[in-house]
Amino acid sequence: MSLVPDILLTGAGAFILVSLVIVFRVVRGPTMQDRVIAVNAIGTNIVVVLALVAAATGNRAALDIAIVYALLNFLMSIAISKFTVERGGVL
């Protein structure tokens, strides 16, 4: 039996723990941008977790979810940045 799934799942666990630490920055702020960058970092970690779980369980559909999540995560950051700069003038 290969150790690879265990390694991957442990890695996923580590990424989740790290994300929990970052939640502190989301709650604390103090500025909007601090929260956005923290949420963006958590989003990146979630993408990684999705991909790791996909690899560990052999569930390839989760990889597609990860791709879509990565796209949405990027859009979230850009949209909020644009929104705060242009005061609602998104697009």
């Binding site: 390839r60 597609d64 003038g89």
Partner: protein, 361 residues
């Protein structure tokens, strides 16, 4: 003269109505006012594009003169019309730049009133008009918005595009569809072709900019494959550096804002350089306006690396070829870092940074 009007123009949907409005206003004004139609034409460094853009602008200005004559008919001698291309020696990037060239033109000729076309938006990107209006009025000019009806379609997103753009967009969309689909079955091939046609058909005028030249694109991709390992190595090396800095108990950071003019033009190279700078730890691109990069650096050594210009040379290599890669470093070209100041003036960089941000606000 008091009645003179300055009208910045570009090829907008409401241009015709704006010209009619301005012509009427000129006729009703006392005396024989001069109507100045100016076309702010940003400098482009890829020469081919520049000449066609200039030719288009000249044509538009000629058309405007004809329109004014049409509108005034017999009263045509009550106004004088002047047209000009302005700003062609500069790279116009943000509303401030446009305001600068327009005010300069107005000041030279003693014009006090500017009439703006409500759809005036030469860059076709983020809303230009409100900040432009603000900048012009703060420069002491009277700014009027031409009272013309806007058609429902607000910002024309499309740009002129050729078959090349369509094909490139179609192929990349199709390839992405097939990769995500994961099979080459007839069903996927058929639905993919349909989806890619729809996407490319809807977006081909929006996504790409400029003509696609396949040979130069291929060369760029080839040089890009050389660039990627270099960048990866830089990223890894510098990440260990940042890990050391962040995990160090005393947090030995010395953040400072650096400004320099990068020797890259057009969008793609500037984006690549900005992203590479951001990915290389210790440096973070805060703002790029024209070629002017504002970079936040975390430590002194990161700043040194940045000003040695290795990344910039590499990006120039990718986009302009090997001969362009040899260039003086940003330091030699006079980048502003605050580093050369004496320690007594330690607060100066902060002020400098604040000034930069004030400009952006």
């Amino acid at each position: 003269m008091g009645g003179d009007l300055l009208v910045p123009v570009d090829d907008s949907v409401t241009l015709r109505k704006t010209v009619a409005h301005v012509a009427n206003r000129g006729r009703d004004a006392p005396g024989r006012p001069t109507l100045h139609f100016v076309y702010p034409l940003s400098e482009r460094l890829d020469a081919g594009e520049e000449t066609t853009a200039a030719a288009d602008a000249e044509e538009l200005l000629a058309r405007i003169e004809v329109w004014v004559e049409e509108d005034l008919g017999d009263d045509a001698d009550q106004v004088a019309v002047e047209t000009a291309l302005i700003g062609s020696a500069e790279y116009l990037f943000n509303p401030g730049d446009y305001a600068d060239v327009i005010t300069e033109y107005a000041a030279e000729r003693g014009i006090e009133t500017v009439v703006l076309d409500p759809e005036f938006n030469p860059q076709g990107m983020a809303p230009l008009l409100p900040p432009l209006e603000r900048e012009l009025s703060s420069a002491g000019l009277d700014v009027d918005l031409a009272p013309v009806e806007r058609p429902t379609r607000r910002n024309p997103l499309t740009r002129p595009a050729g078959l090349g753009q369509f094909v490139v967009l179609f192929c990349s969309t199709y390839a992405f569809y097939l990769v995500v689909g994961g099979t080459l079955s007839t069903f996927d091939l058929a639905t993919g072709a349909v989806s890619a046609t729809i996407v490319a058909g809807l977006l081909w005028r929006i996504t790409t900019r400029g003509e696609v030249d396949l040979t130069s694109l291929a060369w760029r991709l080839a040089r890009m494959t050389l660039y990627v390992p270099f960048l990866l190595w830089e990223i890894v090396k510098a990440n260990f550096h940042i890990a050391y800095v962040v995990l160090h108990p005393r947090l030995p950071i010395d953040p400072r804002v650096v400004e320099f003019d990068a020797a890259v033009w057009s969008e793609m190279p500037a984006t690549t350089l900005a992203n590479s700078i951001t990915l290389t730890p210790g440096t973070l691109t805060v703002d790029v306006s024209q070629r002017h990069f504002t970079v936040h650096s975390l430590t002194r050594s990161a700043r040194e690396d940045l000003l040695d210009g290795g990344l910039e040379r590499a990006v120039r290599f990718v986009f302009y070829g090997r001969s362009a890669a040899r260039i003086a470093t940003p330091r030699e070209r006079g980048a502003r870092t605050g580093e050369e100041r004496t320690s007594a003036e330690e607060t100066a960089p902060t002020e400098e940074a604040a000034v930069t941000e004030g400009e952006n606000a």
